[in-house]
């Protein structure tokens, strides 16, 4: 009986520490969720004389994936993006973040290009508008152009089936 209170205190402490250990401090909730996707007007990687804006995707569900040729963990998620592209279910826009055109193009040739289109954010300003801090990041944007979900860090195996495809399915069912 004498030891019951210390034991209880210890259990409470242990539970809190366990929760703390399992939290990911890199996972910062994005204030962009349920807000309109920040505007951009950027040159297209493949055809730099043409520009693309977020408004061009009005009425469509699309993903914005932030990537760069210098980003090591982008390689980790790349096969999954290729797999997603094969399924042809969603527009996948690449935001080529703080990269150089030749390097970016070479990277896509080497690893394959899953993107419907990639735009170049050479000085990282669009990245700041999207609150990018850990490339790769993936945003799910609905038909009204509202950000509905953000994934920070590489897409992990299973995330497509468990997270992204259900989101896409749900948003496709919504009326614009």
């Amino acid at each position: 009986m004498k030891y019951l209170l210390p034991l209880l205190l210890f259990i409470v402490l242990a539970v809190f520490l366990a929760i703390g250990l399992n939290l990911n401090p890199r996972e910062i909730p994005s204030p962009l969720i349920d807000k309109p996707a920040p505007a951009f007007n950027l040159p297209i990687l493949a055809t730099p004389e043409q520009r693309l804006s977020q408004a061009d995707f009005k009425g469509k569900v699309w993903l914005l994936n932030v990537w760069a040729s210098w980003c090591v963990s982008c390689r980790e998620e790349h096969p999954l993006l290729i797999e997603l592209a094969k399924q042809n279910k969603v527009i996948l826009v690449g935001l080529n973040y703080k990269d150089e055109m030749p390097a970016a193009n070479a990277w896509l040739t080497k690893h394959g290009n899953p993107y419907t289109v990639s735009v170049m954010d050479a000085d990282g300003r669009t990245g700041i508008d999207y609150g990018v801090y850990g490339v790769p990041e993936t945003f799910v944007i609905d038909k009204r152009g509202v950000v509905r979900y953000k994934h920070t860090g590489p897409v992990q195996p299973g995330d497509l089936e468990k997270v992204f495809l259900p989101w896409i399915q749900r948003l496709e069912a919504e009326n614009p």
Binding site: I28, S30, P31, R125, I128, G131, G134
Partner: protein, 151 residues
């Protein structure tokens, strides 16, 4: 003596900042505002550094952003809003005082109160309850008092 020099130099190193960019300010107040802001904004890549301390690419970009906004005549609040709109409250090293952050601010006071209350409760429990002396004890006490210490 040499040790002292080394120590002083080592301590001075600690003060070094990463922002090595040359910034031109028209007014000293602007420069002051810039220095204050960059030492209050968190670098989200390194998390435990301000954007003034960090050499990360993102920190450089955010310093540039702060500088440009100041040049455009934006106020401190404009810049803070710009950053929190994009990166959330976490970008501020010192979190804003609001309902969501109350526990963070009042937590230490709360723990102090809990601690004091615990001490108080434990103390009041352990006070010795006074029992009247028995007849023999009283007699002994009186004899001691009569004779003094040397008994």
């Amino acid at each position: 003596m040499r040790f002292l020099y080394v120590l002083i130099l080592a301590l001075a190193l600690n003060q070094a900042q990463a922002d090595i960019e040359y910034r031109d300010f028209k007014q000293p107040e602007q420069e002051q505002a810039y220095q204050t802001l960059i030492s209050e904004l968190r670098c989200l890549v390194c998390q435990n550094q301000t954007i003034a301390d960090s050499n990360a690419d993102l920190a450089k970009d955010l310093r540039r952003q702060v500088y440009e906004m100041l040049q455009q005549g934006k106020s401190r609040q404009d810049i803070v809003d710009f950053m929190t709109d994009r990166y959330g409250d976490f970008v501020m090293y010192k979190p804003a005082l609001k309902l969501k952050t109350m526990l963070l601010w009042l937590g230490p006071v709360l723990f102090l109160v809990i601690g004091l209350a615990t001490v108080w409760v434990l103390r009041s429990k352990t006070t010795v309850t006074e029992e009247p002396l028995s007849k023999e004890q009283r007699a002994k006490l009186e004899s001691i008092l009569d004779k003094g210490d040397d008994a």
